[in-house]
């Protein structure tokens, strides 16, 4: 088992024929992901990377039965593309795009919350179920099917955790890149709940960073309901207050948003917090190896 995406997922790519979409869709297909087509308005009827192109998500869903969509759409058009996916009946919408205006995301979150679908991202590396489906930009070769579920706000830091779990002989079920923006669809807590309910996942790696309260909310839930060991890491102990550190959401606006404050709550809630990101894999191996 796994969460969100697997080998049977029917995946469409929005922004399919653009340079980003073309490159990453190609990589996804090479990994063996079940990409069933793509959407680029005005290019419906064409074939791209051997898959059909549709004008609208609605057409794509009707023709292919797609249930997952990944978006490589420029920031100015991304909010609209997410809404189109939700309206078109897509169940899991994964938005890679970085730089969407916050005001657009306020509207998107409101819309998505009222519908039966899940948004991952934006500004995220996507979702990857080891050996089954790569729906994002994560490098496939570092994954190995196994027992660790990974949740992270960051791209390369996710790869770091994935790689360490592979080298520790544990492998992964699903890695979920939830994204580094101030407003995201699936929160740390949402992702934790999914992985806690997944039988194949034996341990969870939860990687966060400064800013917001997502990790703290997840930690409090884990304290009450957690059934598996969780290894945690929070990036940004050395980040200065009030400065945005790369990710739009990585900014300390109050005392409880610092890395130290988050780590303290996570430890109080029974999460195995490592201070060095080099120890994520070894700590997990110690717990479930």
């Amino acid at each position: 088992m796994s969460v969100l995406v697997n080998k049977d997922s029917k995946i469409i790519v929005q922004g399919f024929t653009g340079s980003e979409g073309t490159f990453h869709a190609g990589q996804m297909i090479d990994y063996g992901t079940n990409v069933v087509g793509g959407v680029t308005p005005g290019k419906g009827g064409q074939t791209h990377l051997g898959k059909p192109v549709f004008n609208t998500v609605q057409d794509a869903v009707k023709e292919t039965g797609a249930d997952v969509s990944i978006l490589f759409v420029p920031p100015a058009f991304a909010a609209d593309a997410i809404l189109e996916a939700a309206d078109g009946g897509i169940k899991v919408i994964i938005c890679i795009t970085e730089g969407i205006p916050v005001a657009d995301m306020v509207g998107v979150k409101h819309y998505i919350d009222q519908r039966d679908c899940t948004l991952i991202g934006p500004n995220c590396p996507g979702v990857m179920t080891a050996g089954e489906a790569k729906v994002g930009i994560m490098p496939g070769f570092i994954f190995k099917p196994g027992t660790v579920g990974i949740i992270s706000k960051s791209g390369t830091l996710t790869y770091e955790a994935v790689d360490q779990c592979t080298k520790a002989g544990l492998g992964q079920t699903t890695a979920i890149g939830i994204g580094g923006d101030p407003i995201i669809g699936t929160t740390t807590l949402d992702a934790v709940k999914l992985l806690m309910a997944d039988d194949d996942t034996k341990g969870i790696v939860m990687i966060g960073e400064i800013g917001g309260d997502l990790e703290v909310n997840a930690a409090r839930w884990i304290k009450e309901h957690g059934t598996k060991p969780v290894v945690g890491f929070i990036a940004g102990v050395t980040a200065p207050k009030g400065r945005t550190m790369g990710h739009a959401g990585a900014i300390v606006s109050g005392e409880d948003e610092t890395a130290e404050a988050k780590k303290r709550v996570m430890r109080e809630c029974g999460i195995h917090v490592v201070d060095s990101p080099a120890h994520i894999g070894s700590k997990m191996a110690e717990l479930i190896g």
Partner: protein
Amino acid sequence: MNLHEYQGKTILKSFGVSIQEGLVADSAESAYEAALHLTEKTGTEWFVLKAQIHAGGRGKGIVTETGSHGVVLAKGIDKVKDVASGILGGHLVTAQTSAQGKLVNKVLVAQDVYYPGESEIEEFYVSVLLDRSSGKNIIMYSPEGGMDIEAVAENTPDLIYTETIDPGVGLQAFQARRIAFNLGLTGMAYKQMSKFIFKLYDAYVGCDASMFEINPVLKTSDNKIIAVDSKVSLDENALYRHPDYADMRDKSEEDPTELEADEIGLSYVNLDGNVGCMVNGAGLAMATMDIIKLSGGEPANFLDVGGTADAARVEQAFRIILKDKAVKAILVNIFGGIVRCDRVAQGVVDAYKNMGNIDVPIIVRLQGTNATEAKKLIDESGLEVTSVILLQEAADAVAAVVA
């Protein structure tokens, strides 16, 4: 993107928010002219001169060169030139600036709004911002205006109120009424406040702001409601919708090295430490800074080189990092996913050779696609570069260098 008070007020006014009127000036002479115009326009005979810098606490702040405060009341047109001279061109040190302070290039000459009249003058606090937990905008407000809101939150948290705006229907009239009542207003002032809140929220949405802080919002002695100060930040990701606001960016307020990095597309933040770093990805970049600290060093910067790390890019990043003379070592930490590590390694070697005079030790950690080939390439280059693959090895190498 942070704006100056006068720029924020320009935007507020364009959306119909009533503000304390003023004109910006960059010399004592133009400040005098501005004051003359202001008297013509508003009838004011006293003027408030306010230093325009990106930092709070200006009123209590001191201009190093002259001893003047950053906000000064000129009681008459004949005082304006002297007051302006005391502020302009000096360095204003406030609780929010460094000890060197900030150079004041502009002063806002504003009308006096604290004139006596039929009712008591009152100051309120109003801000509009995103509540990240709910993904909704909120209006935060308090009857305790004109002072440090963090102190109010600390001492009298029950005097801070919030209204959450439903994204589906927007700000509602009952919410604006509730705000006005909670601020203790009645009659004309109550009506004016309701109107003020509506216009303010319109402006927040209309200009794609990420934060409005109006402290104080003033009830004048003749029951007008006006914004006396404005702290406005705009969402940089939305500036493509507002090219005229993009021009409001004041580059003189930014760290020169950060500005240079920004212009070549590097995400860079200057810090006080002794070990520089260059990383791909924001999360890993922060984690790398933390590793430097755990290894006994202090990070000198945050630097995300992004998805491409070829020779040209690596060289640009090295040059930026080395502008900081406190840097005693550089840690390059790249996790090559889509990027091939051997290409990055070649980039490091080429950049090193091009620059010729790098006299600090460099530790390169390349992991991911072709990591082994990358290590070999660097080891055989004959350069003073330590090459490692595992993150822990990188941490150990940093510890060895800073010891």
